[in-house]
């Protein structure tokens, strides 16, 4: 019962309208475990004060991100969405949020890390009425995990979770991975596979002889460069994210740039999706804007494929692909993003739209199997032809 003597029920203003309960915040000084406990205690307190239990989840939408001109990264705004128990449209998600919190709490207690798929299985069971499961699929639990991350202000890694690992790296770099010393110049044809968690507790850099880092979108192109020992000839660390790089790869790139003081070049398909991969590496993403400052590499350079490259390198129109409606609308969409407003980017994208075609990295092979290794990239680097 409320001590104030105002009686049962939510507090009301003199005009009878319920006062909006204050925003639920999580102090930054707390660690992940303490934040989850804070959530539980606050929830109990809400029930005691007869406040409809809620969590305030920062919005992960375009409208709630801003591009910081000073820091050159995408940052999350202050807008939150309230999720409450006693609202039929939100009740299920509210329940799931607490279930995920409890799962993470358990991981932290037992000092284990697990995949987000595993957490889904840990938290999934059938409700008492036998008609409904707590989660009907991993696609239901994954967004809840991200909700909890942003709500608590705790990273997935801090919650002892990781996504399925994806991505490989080779090059003149030695590091310690979970206690094992690994020389990335002796990784054969497959390279070192980048783990889901690359925090200093797990990965430590020992030494390197690299001059730059090259991130390659396509694994096939990465394999070509590795086989041709491009990294040895040019002293670089060669990384692929197999498409949009995972959080592990992005965090690793950040740490290498930050700690080894190396420049990063991004080598992607010439289409709107390639541009956006570069943009996520450089500025961060809309969905994970809250992690930009730990992952974005504002100094990353777009080395290709540029929409001007096919002309400059005399690629045959035969290996181009016609833009479809989806490509065109996506291109127009990113033209309007604050962080694509720079002149070179507007020129680059408009040129692609004007040409009406897109190019995959593999298109370079039409000029010879090792054209990319022996001519294209060396010349691009020598000409400092990048954005």
């Amino acid at each position: 019962m409320a001590k104030s003597g105002s009686g049962a029920g939510p507090k009301t203003r003199s005009d009878g309208a319920a006062i909006e309960p204050e925003r639920l915040r999580f102090p930054a000084r707390l660690d992940a475990k303490a934040k989850i406990e804070h959530l539980a205690k606050k929830t109990i307190a809400m029930a005691r004060r007869e406040v409809d239990p809620y969590v305030d989840i920062p919005s992960r939408t375009l409208s709630n991100v801003t591009f910081s001109k000073r820091r050159k990264i995408i940052e999350m705004g202050d807008a939150t969405q309230r999720r409450t128990l006693f609202n039929l449209n939100q009740a299920r998600k509210y329940m799931q949020t607490l279930l995920v919190a409890r799962g993470c709490s358990q991981l932290l207690d037992e000092q284990k890390t697990t995949s987000i798929r595993d957490l889904y299985y840990m938290s999934k069971h059938t409700l008492a009425d036998g008609r409904e499961n707590t989660f009907e699929g991993q696609e239901e639990s994954d967004p809840i995990i991200e909700d909890l991350e942003v709500t608590l202000g705790a990273l997935r890694e801090e919650l002892h979770l990781f996504a399925a690992k994806r991505g490989s790296a080779v090059g003149p770099l030695t590091l310690v991975d979970a206690g094992d010393v690994i020389d990335l110049s002796r990784m054969g044809s497959g390279g070192w596979s980048v783990p889901g968690i690359v925090e200093p507790g797990t990965i430590r850099f020992v030494g390197h002889g690299a001059r730059f880092i090259l991130l390659v979108e396509k694994e096939a192109v990465w394999a070509r460069l590795n086989e041709d020992k491009f990294w040895r000839r040019h002293n670089c660390i060669l990384v692929t994210g197999q498409g949009q790089p995972s959080r592990g790869v992005r965090r690793l790139l950040y740490r290498m740039v930050d700690e080894l003081k190396l420049p990063l070049y991004v080598f992607v398909d010439n289409d709107p999706w390639g541009y956006y991969i570069h943009s996520v590496v450089k500025q961060g993403s809309i969905g994970l804007a809250f992690e930009s400052k730990r992952m974005a590499v504002p100094r990353a350079r777009f080395i290709g494929l540029s929409s001007f490259d096919p002309g400059n390198y005399d690629l045959s129109e035969d290996v181009s692909i016609r833009l479809n409606d989806q490509d065109r609308s996506r291109a127009r969409e990113i033209l309007n993003y604050e962080w694509f407003k720079a002149k070179p980017w507007q020129k680059e994208i408009r040129n692609m739209l004007r040409s009406g075609v897109k190019w995959e990295l593999e298109a370079l092979s039409s000029k010879g199997i090792s054209f990319v290794t022996e001519e294209f990239l060396p010349r691009k680097i020598a000409d400092r032809d990048w954005i």
Binding site: E37, T43, I44, A47, L85
Partner: protein
């Protein structure tokens, strides 16, 4: 080459066709075309006559219908006894033995029978199929003795003959009539059965007490639901808009008035003397002319003048109609149908072709009615149930015209809605436009169809509000269920995080859940439409959980005094006859002793 026949030879073959002979060859016209239908039509004609007679005499009707299997295949005995005013002995042979004899054909007044064919046709059918004449017992009052007779019909001459007349020293009833006749027939149960017919009579005539015994000896009783007869309908004169040319000519020939203007203003309703003069002049007739002398051509013009839109003749007065009434209809529905929601609407009288008519609609929804069936339409014309040709009847069409989806029911295109629903439609009129002589379906007049549709829609809206409110209450319960289910998960999660049992937390959340859902329920209750629904005189809602189980049939001896309000249900009584077969619709227990009579 055929031999030429002279007109004289032909004339020897031409002779008057007796009505009875005509009937024998055209029995389908009057509802005797199948064995099943013959039984139903016979009972219907006898019951109609009894009810009409009682009401005209101001007596609360109590009618007993008995069916017995007679000797021989497909032979049944029908016996109908009423407590009506009785029949004067001299009239009895003509009433039961002469087609087209009666009091109702010549008057414009709302009554069940119209043409004077019914009971005499049944008697003729009985005589034709079994050779046995109709037996009648009747008594006109305690002062005179009851008499008995048999009426034989001479089918050649359309003349009845009374045989075996005798005075009875004693008869159980102070006044009343008993008709008994044997006929070839087939007894069935279910749709279009005698049981179903009587059940519907009971619904539309809550002032009548009915007793029924089936050929198997099963008894069904319907106690009176209201304690007064409907207001007696008034006789009116024909309205000019409803008169056909031939009728107009006949009226001019046979009028007792000396001038055409007097004839028009006295023999028709809503024609003033000035208007009569004007009408005659417009037809080129001297207003003072003798009606009989007006030539055909002039009558034609007069007919046109009467029906001219420019001739502003007020619609006929409508106090000649006798609707069932809102409370009476509710009483009839609740005594005959076990449902959850009852709604009734009576339209104001309207006019088609110069004939006043009035539409009443009752809905019964839920309860014992089956949810996955098509809705049933109970059709009544002047309180008489219509049993055949539902598909071509104006009433059925009007009910199908309504968009039932608006009221929370499902409905396929061009079909009746699906749901636990009975739609009762009563059409009261001085002249019901039947689509055939056997009076089983109402002809399709736009005015009538529109009135029916409007009445059904008004009832439907009330039903829709009720159904939706119920659905909301259900979803409220489901909401609480969901919250409570999730609360268990939340408490479990919080316990896991804090490492402590959180009993108080759980109790608080459950209490909040209860309050949240209750509050929503209360807000719903305060909804104005809900209040309006409850307060309406046109609606009765029976709590489906509160209604006691009602036996299929209740013993006649059960007697309770006091008025019965609609919606009340009688306490359960054990069913008397174990061999009983469920009647088409459930029947409530007898609740009113009325003036106790022995109709056995």
């Amino acid at each position: 080459m055929a031999k030429r026949v002279t007109a004289e030879t032909l004339s020897r073959r031409q002779r008057e066709i007796s009505v009875s002979e005509f009937f024998a060859k055209n029995r389908h016209l009057l509802g005797f075309d199948s064995l099943r239908k013959a039984l139903l039509t016979t009972v219907k004609e006898a019951v109609d006559n009894s009810l009409d007679a009682c009401e005209e005499a101001g007596i609360l009707p109590e009618i007993r219908v008995e069916l017995e299997a007679a000797e021989g295949d497909n032979r049944y005995l029908v016996r109908v006894t009423d407590n009506g005013p009785g029949i004067v002995e001299a009239q009895a042979p003509r009433i039961f033995g002469q087609l087209l004899y009666g009091s109702k054909f010549h008057s414009l007044k709302q009554s069940r029978g119209q043409q004077g064919i019914g009971i005499s046709a049944a008697a003729m059918y009985g005589q034709l199929t079994t050779g046995k004449p109709v037996s009648v017992v009747s008594r006109t009052g305690p002062g005179s003795p009851a008499y008995a007779m048999q009426v034989v019909i001479d089918t050649n001459t359309n003349r009845p003959k009374a045989v075996g007349k005798k005075k009875l020293a004693e008869w159980r009833l102070d006044h009343g009539t008993r008709v008994e006749l044997e006929l070839e027939a087939q007894y069935v149960k279910g749709r279009q059965s005698v049981e179903e017919f009587l059940h519907q009579v009971a619904v539309a005539n809550p002032h009548a007490t009915l007793h029924y015994r089936s050929p198997h000896g099963e008894e069904t009783h319907y106690a009176r639901g209201v304690q007064s007869n409907p207001a007696p309908p008034r006789e009116i004169k024909p309205h000019p808009h409803g008169v056909e040319l031939g009728v107009l000519m006949k009226m001019l020939q046979s009028t007792e008035h000396a001038t055409i203007s007097r004839c028009l203003s006295r023999d028709f309703s809503r024609v003033s003397p000035q208007m009569a003069v004007g009408l005659a002049r417009r037809a080129g007739i001297d207003p003072k002319a003798r009606p009989g002398t007006v030539v055909r051509k002039a009558v034609d013009k007069l007919y046109q003048a009467l029906n001219d839109a420019a001739t502003r003749i007020r619609p006929p007065s409508t106090d000649c109609l006798s609707p069932i009434g809102v409370q009476e209809l509710l009483a009839g529905l609740t005594r005959g149908i076990r449902a959850e929601f009852y709604g009734v609407e009576t339209r104001r009288p309207a006019v088609y072709r110069g004939n006043p008519f009035q539409v009443e609609v009752g809905l019964a929804w839920g309860g014992d009615l089956r949810a996955d069936d098509l809705a049933r339409v109970l059709r009544f014309a002047n309180r008489v149930p219509l049993q055949y040709l539902a598909g071509s009847c104006c009433i059925t069409k009007a009910v199908m015209d309504v968009s039932w989806r608006n009221y929370g029911l499902t409905q396929s295109r061009g079909a009746l809605p699906t749901g636990p629903l009975i739609v009762l439609v009563h059409l009261a009129s001085v002249w019901v436009p039947f689509s055939s002589e056997s009076k089983v379906a109402v002809a399709d007049y736009d005015e009538i169809r529109k009135e029916i549709k409007l009445a059904v829609q008004t009832c439907g809206r009330r039903l829709g509000r009720y159904v939706k409110r119920k659905a909301r209450a259900r979803s409220e319960a489901r909401r609480r269920e969901v919250f409570n289910l999730y609360i268990e998960e939340i408490v479990h999660s919080v316990e896991g995080i804090t490492g402590r049992e959180q009993k108080l937390f759980r109790d608080r959340l459950l209490a909040m859940s209860r309050r949240k859902t209750e509050l929503a329920g209360m807000l719903e209750e305060q909804n104005a439409s809900a209040d309006e629904l409850e307060a309406s005189d046109n609606v009765v809602v029976v709590d489906p959980n509160a209604a006691p189980p009602v036996p299929d049939r209740a013993p006649a001896a059960v007697a309770q005094s006091g008025d019965v309000k609609p919606g009340e249900t009688a306490p359960a009584e054990p069913a008397e006859a174990a061999e009983s077969v469920r009647p088409p619709l459930p029947v409530e227990a007898e609740r009113d002793p009325g003036p106790q009579m022995e109709l056995l």
